[in-house]
Amino acid sequence: MGVVLVVDDIEGNARLLASLLTADGHSVRTAANGADAVRLALSVHPDLVLMDVMMPEVDGFEACRQIKGQAATRLTPVVLVTALTDTDDRIRGIDAGADDFLSKPFNRHELLARVRSLLRLKRYTDDLDTAESVIVSLALTIEARDSNTDGHCQRLAAYAVSLGRALGLDEDDVAALERGGYLHDVGKVGIPDAVLLKPGPLTDDEFALMKQHTVIGDRLCGELRSLRKVRPIVRCHHERLDGTGYPDGLRGDAIPLLAQLMGIVDVFDALTTVRPYKAALPRARAVEELKAEAALGWRRADLVGTFLSLVERDLP
């Protein structure tokens, strides 16, 4: 349980959030505008800020930017509360440094679950140094949104590192693969829950939106010099050798090697675990699928072969 700062210019909204959060054991402070929110964030040191986007004068984006711009409050998680379908809002929110989004009207259980997991994360990152905690918190925030991807990032990091080592890559590349495992889908923070967690088939428009996670992630990493080698992994992990992948339709060697490796381990993990739109496949079927993708000319057969021999050796 922690201290939550609720920011909303409509008093009824602020009171509603306050009574839900108080009943769940948190202590709540409220602010009625962006300027007060920034002031309170500095003096109260909340563990989490829950902020409406649409407020007169200093709106939620600007207040978020100011909170994230000050050293004392930079690591305070900020959740922006936006209208249901507004993708533009999300992209603006990411630019402002927001950690997560909630859609109005919100579901009570979802709200409380999200707040709890972000508070857990805050306690965890309080113990890490800045650079590392930014990376870990971004990655784990995404995972927290989608219970189906539980452990996905960690597994990818582990698979990618052993694949990189088996191929004799240098330690720089192996380190990039590890971080890439955590960060490859970080751009999903910009994808609305309605699409990210949709149980059925995606429409063309929704799939087009989903593809944007590569570009959004690349842009997020662009801010951090230490992630130079990780960016190509984030952007290109869905490319295919024959040019039918996304976002850029790159072909062959134009796809960075580290991204090709991440693509292989990502497909394998996605196939062998449950997703909102499908059940898990048995390992043997996933192996067949990867071989089929190599045969189709989507992936390098030698890389797939190396990975599959690792799978057979290390994952009984």
């Binding site: 409509i10 909204n13 509603l16 009574s19 839900l20 249901l84 088939p201 428009d205 929704e206």
Partner: protein
């Protein structure tokens, strides 16, 4: 933001407050409370109004296609 969006947003806000507090009351009332059914009516009406509002301003996304494992994000 267009004036229509703004109006929908405000409307959703107010309905969300009504719905939210109805839910808070229901959680805090004992199961035998005679006023439960009254609050239940408030909750139902607010839910219906939100659905109506969503119907009046539908999402632009409509056409359906198949999603297969290749769409893995």
């Amino acid at each position: 933001m267009m004036p229509d969006d703004k109006r929908r947003h405000d409307f959703t806000n107010h309905l969300g407050i009504i719905l939210g507090f109805a839910e808070v009351l229901l959680t805090n009332m004992s199961p035998e409370d005679a006023r439960r059914s009254d609050v239940e009516e408030i909750r139902k009406a607010a839910t219906a109004a939100l659905a109506l509002l969503a119907g009046m301003f539908p999402d632009p996304i409509t056409n359906d296609t198949q999603r297969d494992s290749r769409q893995n994000p």
